[in-house]
């Protein structure tokens, strides 16, 4: 897990006067499942295309196994990509698609066939080997696309939003297929997506990108519980962000004055100075609700605005007297004890340790 396979060294990409990628500095470890996530236009796909050699960095270096890759043509790299559009060859059968890369590399016909069959079988679509792509379903095409890349037996597999065209139930199944494959093969996956659920469900580490820069690199849990800055906190969503001024700092805790009240937060590596502005975040699922005023310092009196059901989970949207929105996520069966309706007033509270101070810069 520790040896770096790929190094992005101060990489920038300009398209004319537009800067798509502003300075990427990170490593991809051997054998990890790395997700690059961000809103559309954040530069995540450009980053992946640079790794595949389809775009050349304007500034900086990309090294693969210590070798500088900037000038290596795409067809001389071993970085197969699974495309968002799948980009399967429509004039070839499923097996011919899988054999394509081997044919380009000059592998003999017999070996090509044998390896293609092995991978089609592994993906559970061997029965469709002689079918044309247009006659296959979305999920089957997805598997052909995966087999076509994996048959190359690469060290690193690039995936560009490969599941975005699939139905929701297929996405869940393909996620399991991908994580199992990655674990079994032990190769590095670099997975670009805008979907938080995909990234968090599969990845060992996640890079959050915004406007061509890295917002945060960390495990899904780190990013979820301890977003580094406001951009990440907002992108991850289902978060309550409060901003104000530092009232006092006392070693391991600080008090922050916000329009919604004065709250105690645990300090972290972010430096807090009295009188300076600061913001912090509390995950929506760490909020408590109560009809009686709770003990403790971190509490807000709110009015319920609306509810949103997603299966057994409910998200409550509330507003305090200043009109600041709060979100609370909880189990539906817990919520039903309260018998709440829109417009009802209720207390919100959270443990001091649930809050996380954001980096303002």
């Amino acid at each position: 897990m520790s040896k770096p396979l790929v190094i992005f060294d101060k990489v920038q990409k300009h398209f004319g006067s537009f800067v798509a990628v502003k300075g990427l500095d990170f490593e991809i470890h051997q054998g990890e499942f790395l997700a690059i996530m961000g809103p559309s236009g954040c530069g995540k796909t450009t980053t992946l295309r640079m790794l595949a050699g389809l775009e050349e960095p304007s500034v900086g270096e990309i090294r693969l196994n210590g070798r500088v890759m900037n000038d290596v043509a795409p067809h001389e790299r071993d970085t197969p990509l699974v495309w968002q559009s799948l980009a399967l060859f429509p004039f070839l059968t499923a097996r011919e698609n899988v054999e394509f890369g081997l044919k380009m590399r000059g592998v003999s016909k017999a070996e090509r066939k044998q390896r293609a069959i092995k991978w089609l079988d592994k993906m559970g679509i061997l029965e469709f080997e002689n079918r044309h792509i247009s006659t296959l379903s979305g999920g089957q095409r997805q598997r052909v696309a995966l087999a076509r890349s994996l048959v190359m037996e690469p060290q690193i597999l690039l995936l560009d939003e490969p599941l975005s065209a699939l139905d929701a139930h297929l996405v869940i199944r393909m996620q399991a297929v991908l994580t199992d494959l990655q674990r079994e093969l032990g190769i590095t996956f670099v997975y670009v997506t805008h979907s938080q659920s995909e990234a968090f469900a599969m990845a060992d580490r996640v890079i959050i990108m915004g406007k061509g820069e890295i917002g945060q690199i960390g495990t899904p849990k780190e990013i979820y519980r301890a977003p580094a800055n406001r951009f990440v906190a907002e992108f991850v969503g289902r978060n309550n962000i409060l901003a104000g001024k530092v009232k006092s700092v006392d070693g391991r805790a600080a008090e922050i004055t916000t329009p919604s009240g004065i709250f105690t937060v645990p300090t972290n590596e972010v430096q807090l100075l009295e009188g300076h502005s600061a913001s912090f975040v509390i995950s929506a699922d760490l909020m408590h609700i109560a009809t009686e005023e709770p003990l403790g310092t971190n509490k807000v009196f709110c009015k319920l605005i609306s509810e949103e059901f997603v299966g057994s989970m409910v998200t409550l949207f509330l507003e305090d007297a200043q009109g600041h929105e709060f979100k609370v996520q909880m189990q539906e069966r817990e919520l039903s004890k309260f018998d709440l309706h829109s417009g009802d007033e209720i207390w919100l509270s959270w443990d001091v340790q649930s809050a996380h101070v954001l980096n303002e810069s």
């Binding site: 067809h75 990509l81 980009a87 380009m104």
Partner: protein, 266 residues
């Protein structure tokens, strides 16, 4: 419902009338090619294959037919190759003055044929290349390459641009990608273009007449016969030329249609 039935009936008649208007002269020509009388008048004379026998016995017409086939076959190959290259350059590259570049390529069919023919004659004779069979091939290639380019460009526009990158990504060099991805993808359009340009070249008269010198093609021979006298041989040749061209156009359409259907499926 009743109203739309009436409307459909009227529209149906309208379509039949259009086809009648377009094809009546050709059908007349076909009918008279089997008529024993010299002048195309009604009532018809007896059924006769006399004119066909005369045509088949005429070595000049055989030579012209051979010329026509050589010219249209060569033109089809050259024009389709040129058309493919330009269509691909349009698909693949973005450059300054691309608009004017494309306009220039599509220009030849918009120039009046007679002007084109005169210009070709003037130019080819200037560089000492007129009056040969290859002169017609050159002129026809210029004339038909835009059709080839239009047909192939339509096909390339249906291609997912990621397909080419995907082939590179899987280890295909640019040439291998051309051979194993771009050309196979364009295959229906390439065949369609071959038949279409062959048909246009086979039919073309004005340019051929100017630049052919002694190497007449079939349409030129037809004119030469008609200029001299009224001869139903022309009807016989006309029937043959029409059937050949129609076959080529229908083949072109078949390839065109099959790729449309495939395009819809994917």
């Amino acid at each position: 419902m009743k109203q739309s039935q009436t409307l459909n009936f009227i529209l149906g008649i309208y379509v039949v009338m259009i086809f009648a208007f377009v094809f009546a002269p050709i059908i007349f020509s076909m009918v008279f090619s089997f008529n024993s009388q010299r002048f195309p008048t009604i009532p018809l004379g007896e059924f006769s294959t006399e004119w066909y026998e005369k045509v088949l016995a005429d070595p000049d017409i055989w030579k012209a037919a051979r010329n026509s086939l050589i010219v249209s076959f060569s033109t089809a190959l050259i024009a389709t190759f040129l058309g493919f290259c330009t269509a691909y350059s349009d698909f693949r590259y973005n450059f300054r003055f691309k608009g004017p570049y494309l306009a220039l390529i599509l220009l030849p069919p918009t120039i009046p044929l007679i002007i084109m023919a005169l210009a070709m004659l003037a130019w080819l004779s200037k560089i000492g290349m007129s009056g040969q069979l290859y002169s017609i091939i050159i002129a026809h290639s210029v004339l038909t390459a835009p059709f080839a380019m239009a047909v192939i460009r339509l096909r390339l526009n249906q291609m997912d641009p990621d397909l080419e990158s995907a082939a590179w990504n899987l280890g295909g060099s640019e040439w291998k990608t051309m051979r194993y991805v771009i050309v196979p993808f364009c295959k229906p359009a390439i065949f369609s273009s071959l038949f279409l340009t062959a048909a246009v070249s086979f039919d073309e008269f004005a340019v051929s007449w100017f630049v052919s010198g002694l190497n007449s093609t079939l349409p030129v021979v037809v004119l030469e016969i008609v200029q001299g006298n009224i001869d139903p041989q022309v009807n016989a040749i006309g029937t043959f030329v029409f059937l050949t061209s129609m076959t080529l156009v229908v083949l072109a359409q078949l390839f065109f249609a099959s790729r449309q259907i495939k395009g819809m499926q994917s």
